[in-house]
Subunit: 232 residues, 2 copies
């Protein structure tokens, strides 16, 4: 990795030395011929660095002022934008606004140049399908239970219309375009079940943690549903 290393040092030199710096000087510092230095500069430019070279003067690096905590490619930015857009069709309002907030924060940390590029993305997805009825119960309770690995007790109307009360270990919400479902381990049936959220009448936390069982739960679920692998 001698080359990559040298390129790093070259960037450091451009930052450290007072601009403009001549190619000769940089070539000496990096221990390379002038010809090669021109090639290295070209490489850095290809990588996105803004290096201004002026005949008779030297090189000037214009650094991105708020250097990004993480850099994303243009394609990645557009992909995230579109993804958040697509989410709008299946997510609930909480989720949607969270996604937009997060994306806005990501874009805000980008350097000005990339930020402008993000604005250029005019693309969006249409397909405003049928609106899904908003869930009657508070999704945030379910989410918290999933995150904190806490047992829930629910009153549920099963597909036959019969009401049951059962303790469950919630694993995660499953969003589909038409129904919102809760994947959980049902302690009443001693097996994995998928509950329609809209059929949950009431729910409350029992205060019991199922953390010790979670790992084996996920593993079992993955084993039984290899066709639908659990994203880890």
């Amino acid at each position: 990795m001698a080359r990559t290393d040298r390129l790093m040092r070259l960037m450091d030199l451009l930052r450290r030395l007072p601009a403009p710096v001549t190619a000769t000087r940089l070539a000496e510092e990096t221990g390379v011929s002038r010809r090669q230095l021109y090639r290295d500069i070209a490489t850095l430019r290809a990588g996105g660095a803004l290096i201004d070279g002026e005949a008779g003067l030297g090189y000037t690096l214009t650094e991105d002022p708020a250097l990004p905590p993480q850099s994303f490619s243009r394609l990645e930015i557009e992909a995230l934008r579109l993804a958040v857009d697509a989410l709008g069709r299946i997510g609930d309002p909480d989720l949607n606004s969270a996604a937009h907030d997060a994306l806005a924060r990501i874009i805000a940390t980008l350097p000005e140049r990339q930020s402008r590029q993000a604005l250029h993305a005019v693309m969006r997805s249409f397909d405003t399908g049928p609106e899904r009825a908003p869930p009657r119960i508070d999704l945030s309770v379910i989410r918290s239970a999933c995150w904190d690995e806490m047992e829930l007790e629910i009153d549920y109307i099963d597909l036959k219309g019969a009401p049951t009360r059962r303790p469950i270990w919630p694993l995660g919400l499953s969003y589909s375009q038409h129904t919102l479902m809760l994947l959980a381990y049902c302690r009443l049936r001693m097996d994995f079940r998928v509950f329609h959220v809209n059929r949950i009448e009431t729910l409350r936390s029992t205060g019991n943690s199922f953390r010790p069982h979670r790992v084996v739960l996920v593993r079992e679920y993955a084993a039984t549903r290899k066709a639908h692998p659990v994203r880890a």
Copy 2:
């Protein structure tokens, strides 16, 4: 910089794919022989990456905690995850892998506790609708033209089946679940048009920039399509 680039992709893959990942898989993904993959892993390790390799299982990446922290709420992380998932149903492969890479990088920079929480999100969206046929032409050319505000010349089969050749100013791709469309200003018709990407026979850049006209273009488009406002 093919090598450095490949190493970057390798890191992304290690972040994105569920651990442990076998060398064979990584070799395929990076388009390199197994022997070379072992060498690449060695390079990353020499560079400080913590990659655990276990015989019979595969590789597991344990992220470097010395990364700039950028905090997101739990809900935001889940929202982004789901958004990227939802994108899988409408985006093309390039876009999808970009979204996954970006998300993996975001999660990688989270503090360990949040990172674990992100893994807890088992939720995903189903609704595997009908697969859209992959576009015959290279989308990256279109994307580049949109970003760089460069004119394109396309051979297009219009809805009546008549072939036309026209110069256009591409504004952005529009993803919908069933068709992929290109929004552009058509210089032949002197108006905005939405082209079905699958009806574009050939395309090439004319080398002309339409940057000076872009701002007014977007403004006009917004004015004429108030019902479908252009995301700025």
